[in-house]
């Protein structure tokens, strides 16, 4: 019973997962230890034999990577969270305020920069590129786009006035005084944003399963939604 559940979660879920682990302890007396980093880093830890029970990835690709290495328990995989892709601006940036709809992005951007996660490896960047391509803007904006190492990095750059707009998740907007929502990308303009949760095969146990289920439960739904995520599983 004294087993501590190790959960490896994408950095962007830090607050929500931290809150959840407190709730889990409170409700079931289960200790859950959280580790946050980039999904890629975490996936490699698991592949290297890190003692993890659960993995909450920001990207399906890394879960597939683990699946390919046969590291995921049977029936141990669920699409847990969804998110929305948004275009953000700085508070009080007059030039950015003029954006009425996404189609005007090229004009509103002017000579300024569009900041986004690196499409090569940051999921938000990848979704952003898909969306812009879908909207027929990518060709015109490509030259003015700059890539942050993570969404957080992109937002920091925007907050410091290094560009006019940034593409990020809706969850990133929370509690960011200096950023405002400019537009929301249509859901169909990019692949679905999914945070899959996996149960790691090697450490599979009753307690781990319990936590795995708990993360799909009603309490989890409340907490995740409180932090701006869309909750995907049908609450059991």
């Amino acid at each position: 019973k004294s087993e501590t559940i190790e959960i490896l979660a994408a950095a962007s879920t830090t607050e929500a997962v931290t809150a959840l682990s407190a709730a889990l302890h409170q409700e079931h007396g289960l200790a859950m230890r959280t580790t946050f980093a980039a999904s890629s880093t975490l996936a490699k830890h698991i592949a290297a034999g890190a003692p993890a029970h659960l993995f909450l990835s920001a990207d399906i690709a890394w879960l597939n990577y683990l699946a390919a290495h046969d590291l995921i328990a049977a029936d141990g995989r669920v699409d847990l969270l969804g998110n929305q892709l948004v275009l953000l601006r700085r508070t009080g940036d007059a030039g950015a305020r003029g954006l009425a709809e996404l189609a005007d992005l090229d004009m509103a951007l002017g000579k300024e920069r569009l900041i986004m996660g690196d499409p090569a490896h940051v999921p938000a960047g990848r979704y952003g590129r898909q969306a812009l391509q879908h909207l027929g803007l990518w060709g015109a904006l490509k030259q003015r786009a700059v890539f942050g190492a993570s969404v957080r990095n992109a937002l920091a750059l925007l907050a410091r006035g290094q560009g006019r707009f940034a593409i990020a998740y809706a969850t990133d907007l929370r509690a960011h005084d200096s950023l405002r929502l400019s537009a929301t990308f249509p859901k169909d303009s990019h692949a679905a944003i999914v945070y899959p949760l996996a149960l790691i095969r090697e450490r599979e146990s009753a307690v781990a399963r319990k936590a795995f289920r708990y993360l799909q439960g009603a309490r989890a739904k409340t907490i995740f939604e409180q932090y701006g995520f869309t909750f995907l599983p049908n609450t059991r």
Partner: protein, 228 residues
């Protein structure tokens, strides 16, 4: 004044840095000596290898450590099977990552200082009947202490700041591997976490400056004592 989380990160950082530096000292001195006083084939290459952690991006190095010392890695598996030690996710792993990153700085300081020791003093000691090992321990080493101190300081400070390799290799486990830089990173990941991050940054800086000033003072005392 400090939150429990900050205290935990601070004490963990200290623990990791002290262990990393403490365990590097002896091999550091040995390798510095090899580089300062010996000539052997492939020395330049060896020297290059020692400097590798300086040139490789910490993330790449952390990955390399993960491949080698992860539970499935050649060294990691052995450590796990025989000693039941797991480095990944443990403060020991953080210490290893920090030690590897700081090692070139340690070696270089000691080596430079050792090269500056007048060899004529060493030959004088030998004519007085001291064997090379004794000469090393009684002449070379004491005269190198300022360099060793500097090296320890630099390495210590480098360990305090180590991030990329640690998060890649030892991960970001609160209370276990979440040192000050990792805590800082974590704070930056949270929307609105800048205030926390700033506090942590100040803490790091204060710690480093304390270490620097203390070592400066120590170095001066030491120099006086060894009469340089």
């Amino acid at each position: 004044m400090l939150s429990p989380l900050e205290i935990a990160a601070l004490s963990l950082s200290l623990k990791v840095a002290v262990w990393a530096v403490g365990c590097s000292l002896a091999p550091g001195i040995a390798i510095a000596w090899l580089l300062a006083r010996r000539d052997f084939p492939g020395k330049a290459l060896f020297d290059g290898l020692v400097h590798l952690p300086l040139v490789l991006p910490p993330v790449a190095l952390g990955y390399l450590l993960l491949v080698l010392f992860g539970r499935n890695g050649p060294v990691g598996a052995w450590l796990h099977d025989w000693f039941d030690i797991s480095l990944v996710f443990s403060w020991r792993g953080a210490a290893l990552a920090a030690a590897v990153m700081a090692f070139p700085l340690l070696v270089r300081s000691i080596r430079l200082s050792m090269e500056a020791v007048d060899r004529r003093l060493e030959t004088a000691a030998r004519t007085l009947g001291a064997r090379p090992l004794r000469v090393f321990l009684t002449i070379t080493l004491p005269l190198t202490t300022p360099g060793i101190l500097t090296g320890l300081l630099l390495a210590f400070v480098r360990c305090l700041g180590e991030f990329g390799a640690t998060i890649t290799f030892a991960a970001n486990v609160p209370g276990e591997t979440r040192t000050l830089p990792l805590a800082l990173y974590t704070a930056l990941q949270v929307p609105g976490g800048e205030a926390d991050a700033t506090r942590l940054a100040f803490l790091s800086v204060a710690l480093a400056i304390t270490a620097l000033v203390a070592s400066q003072y120590l170095a001066r005392q030491l120099s006086k004592r060894i009469g340089l």
